[in-house]
């Protein structure tokens, strides 16, 4: 693939802190105009990869380009081309909303007016409070301001490190709507999240854990290629049901998943047989249905293959 079609190209990047391997030979590509999700729990290496790509940290080995530029050789140019929203709130708490915006615009040699159109859909939501100090904003408003500041110089690649962590389900969904708008404007976006349900909002995702990439694909294709049958199951006593199912040799694994437990069928699995067996053991209101696996099911299966 021609490099110019890639917004980000990562080849075999590793990074250790002392004896802890934060990134272990990570490779991935982000295409131009794509929303790419880095999905994994704390300790997956998400923040370390962001820092390396925005040229704040050097990798131990491997190479990478951002917007076609080498992260080591061309680090100065990269810094003017990327927008970065770190996981921790990093704006000036003693400056107002307006002052923060102006400050970041000035750093990049632009004015707020110049790129107002790009930030307007987001910035307009907090503009009525522009005289308020950033330190006194609610979580959701801080998030919108941080995104506005990261966008004010009209970057070509946007890096968002856990922008939705600790944010409630409704605000999270609104935030992803904003990212889709930005993509329409031609931005390439790399966003990380520990929330597996946000995978469906990305064009492609990398599932990662403890410094390694488990798989990269579109969320739809990951579901399609899932090897195995998943069933949702419930009864009047969910905890007993779970223990019961774990003892069943025809079930590869079983875990909680909300209203229903999810079970992965193994060799010799028979739905009718299982239902009767459970009723005989005293379970009532037994309900079993075939379901399409979600990203969390996929993640759990990939993890179980590895370590658990």
């Amino acid at each position: 693939m021609d490099t110019s079609t890639l917004a980000i190209e990562v080849k075999g990047i590793s990074k250790s802190y002392g004896t802890v391997k934060a990134l272990d030979k990570v490779s991935l590509d982000v295409r131009r105009g794509e929303i790419f999700g880095l999905i994994g729990p704390d300790g997956a290496g998400k923040t370390t990869l962001f820092k390396i790509l925005v040229t704040l940290l050097n990798a131990d080995e491997g190479t990478a380009t951002v917007d076609g530029l080498d992260i080591v050789k061309d680090y100065r140019t990269i810094r003017s081309r990327v927008g970065y929203m770190p996981g921790k709130f990093s704006l000036y708490p003693d400056l107002t909303i307006e002052e923060n915006m102006e400050f970041f615009a000035t750093l990049f040699g632009v004015t707020v007016e110049q790129n107002y159109d790009l930030v307007a859909p987001i910035y307009k939501q907090i503009e009525p409070f522009k005289k308020r100090r950033a330190g006194r904003l609610s979580g959701g408003m801080k998030q919108k301001l941080a995104l506005s500041c990261a966008l004010i110089h009209k970057p070509s690649v946007l890096f968002l490190d856990e922008p939705t962590t600790g944010v409630d389900a409704v605000s999270r969904s609104e935030f992803w709507d904003m990212l889709h708008n930005l993509r329409e404007q031609g931005l390439s976006i790399l966003a990380s999240t520990p929330y597996m349900d946000e995978a469906s909002r990305c064009d492609r995702i990398a599932l990662c854990n403890t410094g390694r990439v488990l798989d990269i694909d579109s969320p739809q294709h990951m579901v399609e290629k899932f090897d195995g049958r998943i069933y949702g199951i419930k009864s009047h006593n969910m905890y007993d049901l779970l223990k019961e199912l774990r003892d069943n040799r025809c079930i590869s694994s079983c875990y909680t998943a909300g209203e229903y437990h999810h079970l992965l069928a193994g060799a010799g699995f028979d739905l009718g047989d299982l239902k009767q067996r459970l009723i005989a053991k005293g379970h009532s209101d037994v309900e079993i249905k075939s379901i399409v696996p979600n990203i969390e099911d996929i993640f759990i299966k990939l993890l179980s293959n590895e370590q658990y």
Partner: protein
């Protein structure tokens, strides 16, 4: 009326907290039964943290009354603190102490007798299959282990009720589920669990859940009944319906 004589471990009426002209928690009234897993949900800025601080004896209400574990939320904050367990995602254990030292420290703070403490800590660590890590510094443990250990530490003094403030944030899906199994187990042995979470699938594991919007409890019921009354397929949908009307927060 003391809650020890009733089946309610938490019982509050019109609990309110004002900061200046801002009413963070606005006349909330509800009960939590003994042995129940109670999910305390709400949008950002809804007043969950403030309400939880009052229930844990860390902050006194501006008005209203009630009891937690048999003690008065208006007058007996200190006693409440000693009789509950508490664990939050943000702070739980001391990184520079070993697993056992953390247990001794927290057990000591809660007044567990030395000999009893050793016994309980050892049993807990064996149950968690952590016994070989007893002399390991907490900072060297993976996050998922820390969370499980923090839960064990929070229940070391055998409290009747444990408050868990977003206990599973950022934890991998397998560990998150193992954590919930610890919760199930503690509940099946009679410990009441009061838990906040942003994961809507976890709300389904609760016996009952409440949803706070703009300082008020807008809904409280079993997950099944909530879905029925809001004609929703999931708790996520119920939450969205309620939180969409929120004036406050974001």
């Amino acid at each position: 009326m003391s809650s020890t004589e009733t089946n309610h471990i938490i019982q509050v009426k019109d609990l309110t907290k004002q900061f200046g002209t801002f009413t963070a928690v606005d006349h909330i009234t509800f009960e939590v039964e003994r042995g129940e897993i109670f999910g305390f949900l709400g949008a950002n800025g809804a007043g969950k943290t403030t309400a939880m601080r009052m229930l844990c004896g860390l902050s006194y209400p501006t008005s209203g009354n009630g009891t937690v574990a048999g003690f008065d939320v208006v007058k007996e904050g200190e006693k409440i603190k000693r009789h509950i367990g508490y664990m939050s995602q943000r702070f739980s254990l001391y990184d520079d102490l070993t697993v056992m030292e953390n247990m001794e420290l927290f057990g000591g703070i809660y007044g567990v007798k030395r000999r009893e403490l050793k016994k309980r800590a050892t049993t807990l660590l064996q149950k968690l299959k952590f016994i070989e890590e007893r002399d390991t510094m907490v900072k060297a443990l993976p996050l998922g282990w820390k969370q499980k250990l923090a839960f064990a530490v929070a229940t070391l003094h055998s409290p009747e009720i444990v408050f868990l403030d977003e206990p599973t944030g950022g934890v991998d899906p397998i560990t998150r589920r193992q954590f919930w199994e610890m919760i199930y187990q503690a509940a099946s042995q009679g410990t009441t669990i009061f838990v906040t979470t942003h994961y809507m699938d976890e709300a389904e594991y609760c016996n009952r859940i409440s949803m706070m919007v703009d300082g008020k409890i807008k809904a409280l019921d079993t997950p099944a009944n909530l879905k029925k009354s809001y004609n929703a397929a999931s708790i996520d949908e119920v939450f969205r319906t309620l939180a969409r009307d929120a004036q406050r927060g974001d």
